[in-house]
């Protein structure tokens, strides 16, 4: 009996805490990258929570009631947009019954606003092209320059719902921007020797990152976004890697490592495991450490 009571108490204990720390603005973001930037911009005045863990593929999150509970208490909701969270964020917003954070309200932030998006389809689209995003490639947080605009959008949202904190948010934003500028210079310097290199990636998720550092994706392990590779496609990728002398296959932890390793074995290319989000790997606690990891790991992989 004691055991049962203890188990029940434990289950209740691990659910979402009801009360916010007194007086703090409650922000819920869809991803940990957005949470990290919100923490930097919000400072001590905000309490930040998120839905998708850094280690999770944000396309495939379940619209769990516990997530609705989080959103029901939020003052501000921040999402990546561009269809990345389309499978679950609308259900969560509907289930949360929180008027403040609905699309178009003061407490809603689409972090992609004002960002120069890549791969916006110009022609009519359908799903014969796989999981295409009608509004453009949503992996824009992987260009650190876009981190600046994301922070601007979040700061604007915070100021909208908490005008009293304007000065502090602007101060934090300025600090974040300056630190980011300095860091980008450093990252670019480290990637300088690899300018123009071609790589293979599993999913088309590195477009922004590669463009920023003047690299190019020559092939994808997936034949089309979201479609698993056939052996014919893999054979073609293998031929291409051999033909063009490609040396690196970039893969995220939630994609099929076996397939990538198979291609690597056949071609002598190296599999480089890149963590695409804050907290998806150890030691990646914020937006800066994410790029420290990406640059160091990729530079190491590309070294001859």
């Amino acid at each position: 009996m004691k055991k049962i009571v203890f188990t029940l108490m434990w289950i209740v204990f691990i659910q979402t805490p009801l009360t916010a720390e007194a007086g703090k603005i409650r922000v819920v973001t869809t991803t940990e990258d957005l949470a990290a930037i919100t923490n930097a911009v919000g400072g001590d005045g905000v309490q930040v929570d998120f839905i998708a863990r850094g280690a999770q593929d944000a396309h495939f999150i379940d619209a769990k009631p516990s997530h609705m509970l989080k959103l029901s208490r939020a003052d501000l909701f921040v999402q990546i947009g561009l269809g990345l969270e389309v499978g679950w964020a609308p259900s969560l917003l509907m289930g949360a019954r929180n008027a403040k954070i609905q699309r178009g309200e003061k407490g809603y932030v689409n972090a992609s606003e004002g960002i120069e998006l890549l791969e916006i389809p110009t022609d009519k689209i359908d799903r014969s092209a796989g999981d295409v995003h009608a509004e453009g490639n949503p992996h824009y947080w992987l260009d650190p320059m876009n981190g600046q605009q994301i922070a601007n959008n979040i700061a604007a949202g915070l100021i909208r719902i908490d005008p009293a904190g304007k000065e502090s948010y602007e101060q934090n934003l300025k600090q974040f921007s300056e630190k980011l500028d300095r860091a980008i210079t450093g990252w670019k310097r480290k990637m300088e020797p690899f300018k123009g290199e071609k790589v293979v990636t599993y999913h088309n998720s590195w477009a922004y990152f590669l463009q920023r550092f003047s690299l190019e994706a020559a092939a994808y392990i997936e034949p089309k976004p979201g479609i698993p590779p056939s052996s014919a496609h893999l054979a073609q990728v293998i031929r291409q890697i051999q033909g063009e002398g490609l040396r690196v296959i970039i893969v995220e932890p939630y994609f099929d490592g076996k397939v990538s390793r198979f291609v690597a074995r056949k071609t002598g290319a190296k599999v480089v495991l890149l963590q695409p989000s804050v907290s998806s790997g150890t030691g990646i606690e914020d937006y800066f450490q994410l790029f420290d990891h990406l640059i160091a790991t990729l530079a190491d992989g590309l070294k001859k």
């Binding site: 979402t16 805490p17 495939f60 009631p65 516990s66 029901s72 499978g87 019954r97 698993p228 932890p253």
Partner: protein
């Protein structure tokens, strides 16, 4: 004469060119952008087609669901046109129109059309229109979201082939507690073929008593539903939903005869954090229901049958294992203590259904299923084999947990 015809033709030609000239004069890109811009106000539109090829060992089978495969050969189980959008800052609306064949004739059904509030205070939400009663888990699901080819025995028995749905209003509240607890209450019309256990007029009799078409003249003639739904996360990988549902309404066998249905349900999902495209996962789901149907007294063939309360019970339990990306294996067992939806005096029955589903993408599926149907009133079991195939085109809203 000829000149007049020619001049008329010329005049017609000039007017025609004049009418279309502005179009040519406009920049083609601007016209395209304009039409695209206005399209952005369009609601999300999707079309779902659900088909089955089936074989039954016995043509007189026990597949009573209106969307179940129901004949040897091919069945259009469901063709669903869904439109949904935010209406204004205050409401969201969606409509699900169903098309199908009824004995070769094409039919249209208004399955669901409702509007839901977006911003009521105190965690309240109101939905109004035509909607599936939120009783348990299976009843509110559209056929394309089912994890098996057919409806469960107990749902068909309690709510009929089309499920329990009608015009009405629902109010729900998310309570301010440290865990998820939702209270749902609804009032709906109790008449029509989509209210089988209530004032339905689609069945001619219930346990020998004629069902009389009764007008809704007082509150007693409506259908009341109450549901309590809670959700707990056991860990980051495993979440659960538990619920109890209760229905009360009049039935058509007498002037003051009532039907009560009670149900409990659960759903548990395991999915590891590092799932690839949503795989692997394991689901466990079950529902149990009990109906007590007060059948009124009636004079049938010059003999009086007395007022009597009929109890009907049943349950199902199902598990689905997404063992490899794109593949899901399932097993369902369902049982009920009545065979015929309109006559609960007949015997017990059970059905076991293993299945295997392949999802080429999120927007298509091919499902293989075997049903073993055993019923007390028959000597031999009925075997059925189904191949189900489905497509969805357009923008379809996500399904809830």
């Amino acid at each position: 004469m000829r000149l007049r015809i020619l001049s008329r033709f010329l005049l017609f030609f000039v007017v025609l060119v004049g009418l279309f000239l502005p179009l040519f004069a406009l920049d083609g890109g601007a016209v395209w952008a304009q039409s695209r811009a206005s399209q952005r106000f369009n609601p999300d539109i999707s079309l779902n087609g659900l088909f089955a090829a089936s074989y039954f060992s016995e043509p007189n089978h026990l597949q009573f669901g209106a969307h179940d495969p129901n004949a040897r050969g091919f069945t259009l189980q469901n063709l669903e046109l869904t439109l949904s959008s935010v209406v204004d800052p205050f409401f969201r609306a969606e409509g699900h129109l169903i098309f199908g064949f009824d004995d070769g004739e094409s039919i249209v059904e208004i399955e669901e059309v409702h509007m839901t509030t977006l911003g009521l205070p105190y965690g309240l939400q109101v939905m109004a229109g035509q909607f599936f009663t939120r009783f348990g888990r299976q009843n509110k699901q559209h056929p394309h979201a089912w994890q098996f080819v057919d409806q469960t025995i107990i749902n068909t028995l309690m709510f009929g082939g089309d499920g329990l749905r009608n015009l009405g209003v629902q109010v729900s509240a998310l309570l301010p507690l440290p865990f998820y607890l939702e209270l749902i209450g609804s009032v709906q019309n109790a008449r029509g073929e989509t209210a089988l256990s209530f004032l339905s007029s689609s069945e001619e009799t219930f346990a020998g008593r004629p069902i009389v078409d009764q007008a809704i003249n007082e509150g007693n003639d409506l259908l009341y539903m109450g549901r309590l739904k809670t959700s707990l996360d056991f860990s980051e990988n495993t979440s659960s939903v538990f619920g109890t549902s209760h229905l009360l309404g009049s039935n058509g066998t007498g002037l003051d005869t009532r039907t009560r249905i009670h149900g409990i349900d659960f759903f548990i999902k395991w999915k590891p954090t590092l799932a690839q495209n949503g795989w692997p996962f394991l689901l466990l789901q079950g529902e149990a229901m009990q109906r007590s149907y007060q059948a009124g007294a009636a004079l049938v063939d010059d003999s009086l049958i007395f007022r009597k309360t009929f109890k009907t019970e049943g349950y199902y339990i199902q598990t689905l294992y997404g063992f490899k990306r794109q593949w899901v294996a399932g097993l369902r067992y369902g049982s009920a203590n009545a065979t015929d939806p309109s006559d609960p005096r007949t015997g017990d029955r059970w059905r076991i259904s293993p299945n295997l589903t392949f999802y080429p993408s999120e927007f298509s599926k091919i499902r293989f299923q075997y049903n073993h149907d055993q019923s007390d009133d028959r000597d031999d079991p009925i075997h059925a084999v189904f191949i189900q195939y489905e497509f969805t085109i357009g923008a379809h809203a996500a399904h809830t947990f």
